[in-house]
Amino acid sequence: MPPEIPRFARDKLKKILFLVTDAYGGHGGIALFNREFCAALEGVEITVIPRVVRGLVQDPPPHVHFVAEAAEGPVAYLRAVAAARRAKPDLVICGHVNLLPLAFGRPLLVVHGIEAWKRRRLPLSRCSAVLSVSALTRDRFTGWSGFDGPTFVLPNAVHLDHYGIRPKREDFIARYRLEGKRVLLTVGRLEAAERSKGFDEMLEVLPDLPEDVVYMIAGGGNDAPRLQLRARELGVASRVVFTGLFADEEKQDLYNLADAYVMPSRGEGFGFVFLEAMACGVPAIGSKLDGGREALLDGKLGMLVDPTNRAEIRAAILETLERGERRIPEGLEYFSFENFADRANAVIQALTSNRVATSSV
């Protein structure tokens, strides 16, 4: 366990403004990170202004003021930002590089993944500091931007008590025809514009794996037709299961169907799904070329492969299936919410100490 980190002085910092793409009522890793970050800063008044509210709005905690109406359109968003500016927040946090032009003062910029890996024009000189979900994203961001201010790494959190090892659900086994099969799983959006989850690599490895191994792709997206065609070309269509979009409450049971969670990806800023899989006791195989490496604590929690080398992917899968072990890996608590909250508070502590200028000019 890390040493206890003192919570920052609440009296020095009372109001935070947090500009986000989405948070409550949002799907995906960035929305989740934003909600967890707010939760961790309990005791401070946080105004959260979202660009998008997709689904049902989860109830924000009492210390969070969620300006849902800002998501109605660009004008509504600008109006909400202007109102927030008049309230003179003590700290502005910009939750996405796309929102940086709208942020004022000396914001703390949060970077997640591919949105921050490529060169683009940004008013970075105004940023007081950068917070990244992984050292990889931090380095790729500072690599092209030359940002030389303070940086912090705050990896995603997983609520270990929300997950656990469960038996494979019989109705799911029937639904996906998994009787007597060993299941490899990847969860993620099938995005034609990105193709970075490693689905192609997995399909290419599949012919070289034992016949009883099937590959389950859990998620919706516009790349599904191409991947289905690819599976047919490779002669493995009968061994690939596409779940399509799935309901959130089915997620845990999907993870628990898997004998290995495999994602030989190239575009993960961190790879929160690894934490979920491992919290369900599913052994994980991640990538050496993206943030998956950090989600697996550099190989301590799961195996790492180079996604450009099919033989490495295959060898890791065979070894994992051979072991056939379901357990929650020792050391996963590194990513517990408690540790996340301590780290988040330490970041704010460092920002409010005199070392970093964050106040409005």
Binding site: W117, R140, E194, R195, T308, N309, A311, A315, E319, E322
Partner: protein, 561 residues
């Protein structure tokens, strides 16, 4: 050695072959002959990982069923070992050599797909009476074979195979033609007709009674470029730096201190910079009275905080070393002098391992050929006119050769041209040599399957021809002559696979140069220059460097039996 038909191998021959390689491995050595006398293995060792006697070769696995001789380094051996141990494998040493044995036991021939490093090895499997032989993807480590129909002999040097006295010394006319065309003998030919180079990125078995079977290609540069997925998720320059840094980190795996060859060029400077972040480093720079980049290199070394050695070489030392230089030169080459002296300096400092920036130009498109060849193929008439204006001797040949990538490459890299060979070698040898060599088809083979982009094509040719036959081969013999192992972080199959999709977009050195000081970054590219002309009083030959005269001198010396 494997007498795969019948009979027995010659023990004295095995000893003689092994003894020839003592400078490669002065630390230890050994030979082993099977009880029936059919199989013999010999090895000389330069101890770098696991310095104990447990690392000595020929090495057996714990079960006493597999025995190996191995030349090279496996940079990911610790990761492979951990995986093998989880699967129940047991080890008696801490060496990478033993990991190869366990990996062979688990994966058979497929083991090579998981190796990151440079290697040439043979494993004798007593269970199946088969020998497994493999050479690394790029051919960083040499491996030669002579098969007389009854016995197969394999070694790291052509001269070692001949040292046993059983392999005929007849010179191959194809090697003669190839050497004068390209400046080195192109694989699979060697200077000796009865010896061939084992193709890089391939493996095979030698079966009792049958000879070579089950040949398998496990790596192809052309294929990697063809299959590269087009996506740019990351800033290309940032990604190149990140991946090169990771490759350098892998290449620092060692139980002894590591040095770096430091010129004032971008590749070696970047490698020194990345390596110096991770380990105390000794940097080495070569300097001649006639040509020196030492002041810049020394300044950079000071800034990096490395222990810097600048080694000055003058004419007298060169002339004194020349007999031994030719004696250790395994096959004729017009290069190798710089590696010879820098390795000598490394050895003098008591260092056994040095990183080199070789391969940076092939990886990142640093040669003019990356522009010239595609242009010549697209606009042959324009190229011909431009050449004629400059009264270039090759201009009239552009019509003949300039229409294909292979032809344009031969023009670009040619030392002599096919039409000039008879005057050097005589009509008969030149004709037979060219017929056996088929220079264009040798070049074309490096382009199958088609890498599809102009960059990919030139990169595949440069890496499979100039780099393999000249740069890597010279780096090997000229360093091993001084018991120094050269490591090449920019010549790495993993690195190529990771970068292949973005190289056509990031085809310059800016990615590596970005973090270097301005005095290194902003200077024009200069080739490394050895003042051979001044040292040897080479006769006029139509080139400014007198390389053609030097080539004749090398050939005279090396083609003698």
């Amino acid at each position: 050695m494997f007498a795969y038909r019948s009979g027995a191998i010659g023990r004295e021959e095995l000893e003689a072959i092994t003894a020839r390689m003592i400078p490669r491995g002065p630390d230890a050595g050994g030979t082993w002959v099977s009880p029936d006398g059919r199989v013999g293995l010999g090895s000389r060792r330069l101890a770098i990982i696991d310095l104990s006697d447990e690392g000595t070769q020929p090495m057996w696995d714990v079960a006493g069923e597999l025995v190996i001789v191995f030349n090279g380094e496996i940079y990911n051996y610790a990761e492979l070992r951990a995986s093998l141990e989880r699967g129940g494998a047991r080890f008696h040493s801490h060496s990478d050599t033993e990991v190869l044995l366990a990996l062979y036991r688990r994966d058979g021939a497929r083991m090579t797909d998981l190796l990151r490093g440079m290697f040439a090895f043979a494993i004798w499997d007593t269970r199946t009476r088969r020998m497994f032989v493999a050479r690394d993807p790029y051919g960083i480590k040499p491996l030669y074979l002579a098969d007389d129909g009854a016995t197969i002999r394999i070694a790291s040097e052509v001269k070692a195979l001949l040292a046993g006295g059983k392999v005929p010394a007849a010179v191959d006319p194809a090697a003669a033609a190839g050497f004068f065309l390209m400046g080195s003998v192109p694989e699979p030919f060697t200077i000796r007709r009865d010896v061939r180079a084992i193709e890089p990125g391939t493996s095979f078995f030698i079966d009792d009674g049958r000879g070579i079977v089950d040949e398998r290609r496990f790596f192809s540069i052309a294929e990697i470029f063809r299959d590269a997925k087009e996506d740019l998720l990351v800033d290309a320059a940032v990604f190149v730096r990140e991946r090169v840094e990771e490759s350098v980190a892998h290449h620092l795996v060692s139980d002894v201190p590591v040095g770096v060859f430091l010129s004032a060029g971008i590749d070696s400077s970047a490698i020194a910079q990345l390596a110096a972040r991770r380990t105390p480093l000794h940097t080495f720079t070569l300097s001649f009275a006639e040509f020196s980049e030492a002041p810049l290199a020394e300044r950079f070394a000071r800034e990096l905080g490395t222990t810097q050695t600048t080694r000055t070489v003058a004419r007298d030392e060169f002339l004194a070393d020349l007999p031994r230089f030719f004696e250790r030169m395994d096959q004729p080459t017009i290069d190798g002098v710089n590696t010879w002296f820098i390795s000598k300096a490394v050895h003098e400092a008591g260092i056994k391992v040095a990183l080199s920036g070789v391969g940076g130009d092939e990886l990142l498109g640093g040669y003019p050929s990356f522009t010239n060849i595609p242009r010549m193929v697209r606009f042959p008439r324009l190229a011909r006119a431009a050449g004629a204006l400059r009264r270039h001797p090759k201009a009239r040949l552009i019509a003949e050769y300039g229409r294909t990538y292979a032809g344009a490459y031969l023009l670009q890299r040619g030392l002599f041209l096919p039409g000039e060979l008879p005057s050097i070698l005589g009509e008969e040898v030149a004709r037979e040599g060219l017929e056996r060599l088929q220079p264009l088809s040798i070049i074309e083979r490096t382009l199958a399957p088609d890498p599809e982009t102009p960059f990919g094509r030139v990169a595949a040719m440069e890496a499979s021809l100039y780099m393999r036959n000249q740069l890597l081969r010279d780096a090997d013999w000229a360093s091993m002559a001084h018991s120094v192992e050269v490591r090449t972080p920019l010549v790495d199959a993993y690195l190529l696979r990771q970068l292949a999709h973005m190289l056509p977009q990031q085809r310059d050195k800016s990615a590596l140069a970005a973090n270097l000081p301005g005095y290194l970054r902003d200077r024009p590219k200069t080739g490394f220059f050895v003042p051979m002309k001044e040292w040897l009083d080479l006769p006029e030959d139509g080139t400014s460097t007198r390389m053609r005269s030097w080539a004749r001198r090398v050939w005279e010396s090396l083609s003698r039996a």
